[in-house]
């Protein structure tokens, strides 16, 4: 009897709790699911994607860069800088700041904050995420910006930035969040990493931090002091840590979450049928590829010299492998066409630079067999596996564990290559172990994705000097490609730049240092009550101050 009484009491309490919940539902809030918790809210150390997204709403940039889909390029609009003027040869820019931008402690954002931000970001001691990115500025050997030569502060709201004359300057050279000088100058630079300011920042952005519950959620609230504020803005943005994918989907359908990214294609159709949800995609920012180690990794690690890999050092073999892989099957069967075939590392989002004439390597096992024969591989002992001398064509394809797309792709690739006489063993590795193998050039073949940076960057991935390019995991060697990469670092007319980019795509497509598989979409689903969302190659979660809620 007593037990029954307690049970009924508990039930009543819980029902009353759910009633209390109703009164908080009206607040202008949007809940965004994020898979892992940000480590910091300091833009200096916002290395992760989520951290970048959140800090971009806490700290303002000099310019507001927007993606123009028609041009396939960025365009600059006023932000902290209300106007600017380049000099005739684009080596210097006059920047006029707004005088109504405020820090959350009431101080005015000034030109001194801008200079100080560049100083901090380029300081070796600070270990900022922007360290080493100021090569177009006057700088010292250790990468630190030479403040005297670079900046001329005319007054609190007017400064001039000078660039090195022989460099290609882009708007991205000014795309850094501005941090408050009056706060940071009181912290020892080597101690910024562990300072309290990382968790409780003084901001100047459209939103400010309201609450941070460790590993649960971060609440940002609209910053009424910011010039971006207007009454229609969503008052609270909640970034909810939701590590489990299925749980995120359930909450999205229930309306507990309003926005989530990285939806699996197999779930997209079901979500599109939900009355309260809308689907969208970020296209052309990430592609999967099969990496072939072009060089003998062990030999390179020991001698720092390049020797072609016994299987993949031969261009004909790499081309044969690309012909043998049915990319379309993976794209249509697993990705359900949420993506497109990839023929080079230049995405079609770069409307002008993208070479649409490249057709890539269409699935053609017969052609693959011919190429392999030409390269000296034949099944002489009739055991179903090709040989060259005493070497049988068998290798291990490494994939990161816990990624269903790559597991599916690896199975298709294994079967495809078996048909042309190549034996593949698939091995899953934890991501950290896989990266270790790649950085130390221990792996022969792997499947990974590249998330392409904006602005486009080729040298880090494809330049032959492996001591300079850690990310050239494939060890791609091409004098011709190197020449173009170096040429791209110089000033060129737009037409010449496009020609060079197209030429690069033709070279790399011909060489097939890796098999480019497919560009895959970042599928996003959000509640229909959110309006005015911008989703483009810049990302899915951006410019939240422009989002609106349906009444």
């Amino acid at each position: 009897m007593r037990l029954k009484f307690h049970f009924i009491l508990l039930l009543l309490l819980l029902i009353s709790a759910s009633c209390e919940k109703e009164q908080f539902k009206d607040t202008s809030r949007v809940v965004i699911a994020i898979q892992s918790e940000p480590e910091t809210l300091n833009p200096i150390y916002a290395f992760g994607l989520n951290e970048g997204v959140i800090t971009d709403h806490l700290f303002l940039y000099l310019l507001d860069l927007k993606w123009n889909e028609n041009k396939g390029d960025v365009e600059a609009f006023p932000m902290l800088a209300e106007k600017w003027q380049w000099n005739s040869d684009s080596t210097s820019i006059d920047i006029y700041l707004r005088n109504d931008a405020k820090w959350s402690d009431g101080k005015t954002v000034s030109a001194y904050d801008v200079v100080y931000s560049f100083d901090i970001y380029s300081d070796q001691q600070v270990q900022s995420r922007f360290y080493g990115m100021f090569k177009n500025f006057y700088h010292f050997e250790n990468g630190e910006v030479d403040l005297e030569k670079t900046f001329a502060v005319k007054d609190s709201f007017h400064l001039i930035i000078n660039f090195l004359p022989d460099k290609v300057i882009s708007l991205f050279d000014l795309a850094f969040p501005v941090i408050p000088k009056h706060i940071y100058e009181n912290i020892n630079r080597s101690e910024i990493q562990t300072a309290e300011i990382n968790f409780n920042p003084i901001i100047n952005g459209a939103y400010k931090l309201k609450k941070w519950e460790r590993n649960q959620f971060i609440i940002l609230e609209a910053n009424r002091e910011c010039f971006l504020y207007d009454d229609e803005m969503i008052k609270e943005i909640i970034f909810k840590v939701t590590p489990d994918y299925n749980s995120a989907l359930t909450q999205l359908k229930k309306g507990e979450i309003d926005f989530t990214e990285d939806i699996r294609p197999s779930d997209a159709k079901q979500l599109s049928n939900q009355k309260n949800l809308k689907l969208a995609s970020v296209k052309g920012r990430q592609y999967d590829y099969v990496g072939w180690n072009n060089i003998d990794g062990k030999y390179f690690s020991e001698t720092k010299k390049v020797k072609p890999h016994k299987f993949f050092g031969d261009k004909k073999v790499r081309q044969a492998l690309s012909y043998a892989i049915n990319r379309k099957e993976i794209l249509s069967q697993y990705l359900l066409n949420y993506g497109s075939l990839c023929n080079s590392p230049i995405s079609e989002i770069f409307v002008n630079e993208f070479d649409s004439s490249l057709t890539g390597f269409e699935y053609n096992p017969d052609k693959a067999k011919v190429l392999l024969r030409e390269a000296g591989w034949a099944d002489k002992n009739r055991n179903g596996i090709l040989e060259k001398g005493n070497t049988e064509f068998l290798f291990t394809l490494h994939i990161p564990s816990g990624n269903p797309l790559r597991e599916y792709a690896a199975t298709v690739i294994k079967n495809n290559l078996k048909q042309v006489g190549i034996e593949v063993k698939v091995e899953k590795l934890e991501f950290g172990v896989l990266m270790d193998g790649l950085l130390n050039r221990k792996l022969d073949a792997w499947i990974l994705a590249w998330f392409i940076p904006l602005p486009n960057e080729l040298k880090s991935y494809w330049y032959s000097d492996l001591t300079q390019t850690q990310l050239n995991f494939a060890g791609y060697q091409s004098a011709e490609a190197d020449k173009i990469i170096l040429e791209l670092e110089k000033k060129h007319s737009k037409e010449d730049y496009i020609k060079l980019m197209k030429k690069f795509q033709q070279i790399i497509s011909e060489d097939q240092p890796v098999t480019f598989l497919y560009w895959f979409d970042n599928i996003v689903s959000y509640n229909k009550r959110i309006k005015n969302i911008t989703i483009n190659p810049f990302g899915a979660i951006q410019r939240i101050w422009e989002w609106r809620l349906e009444n």
Binding site: L13, L14, S16, A17, S18, E20, K21, F24, T27, R29, V31, S36, E39, T40, Y45, F47, Q124, Q127, R129, Y131, G132, M133, G143, Q193, T194, N198, E213, R214, N215, Q216, F217, I219, E236, I238, K240, V241, T242, P243, D244, S247, T250, Q251, K253, K254, E256, E430, F431, G432, V433, M435, D436, G437, L439, P453, E457, S460, Y461, Q468, Q470, L471
Partner: protein, 326 residues
Amino acid sequence: MTKEYLILKRLLSSLLILFLVITLVFVLIRISPGDPTQKYISPKLSSQLAEEVRKSYGLDEPITIQYLNFIKNIFTGDFGISYEYRIPVLKVILEFLPVTLMLAFLSITMQLLLGYFTALFSVRRKNSLIDRLIRKSSVILYVTPGFVLGLILVFIFAVQFEIFPSSGFKSFYYDELTFIGRIKDIAAHLILPLLTLSIPGAALFYNYFRDGIEDVMNKDFVLYLKANGFSDKIIFRKHILPNSLKPILSVAGIELGFLLSGTLVTEVIFSLPGMGRLMMSSILSRDFPLVIACAFISALFIIISNFVFDLIKVKIDRRIWKEILS
């Protein structure tokens, strides 16, 4: 041997175990592939940055020097700074521990109570249809994986009936609630994770309790007591129950230790900030100081919980204190 000597001996052996655990974890994590500075490798970042960070973590020093520094720091209570959170690791752990402690203690209590009362109910209806049904169901519940049970509970109670929230430890509007509202809010958030954690454990304890009670009930001394006119209640409370508890307390000690080390699957499904998730993320990001501190805390909890349950066993049956403490 005196009791004090045995307790001291147990304490010293526990310290030795702790030392061995952290040494083993230190060695294992350092020799396994992967590097905490991997996240600093990106086309946008300077290649020098990763090197600078390695140096600042002291990872450029020989592993023996790193180990000696680490041990020296441990003795001063300093587990180092977390590479990921950029604050002292003990501070990080303190942020994650409350959820784990709450879940662990509530869950072990729920498991024991549910197991005990169901066993009692079952024993009283021995071999009846309901007894057979409970016994069969207990096996099914025990073998049901946590993530399956969690998802079923979420589907029923959060999605279909919308009685409980499907994830989190508290609501976004927690601060705006009244005191009672806050308690209710946390309770509503904890019910599904608690059920997910406790149902398989309760099924296990049910079997232990049931078998233990049944076994002792069939002993000759029970018959003797009954013949001497003792009431069933007294025989049960003073003789049957204490004699059937020994194996249950051993299992409970181990179970509590595991619960206190973190309950990864439940924490992931319900997005709870507990030790399991912390440990997992620290391993994946190669946050060496945090991994070691988590391992230390887990080992410490397992040792303490076993010790506490051993003391309870001694309290119930003083004859076994030598056996237990040594």
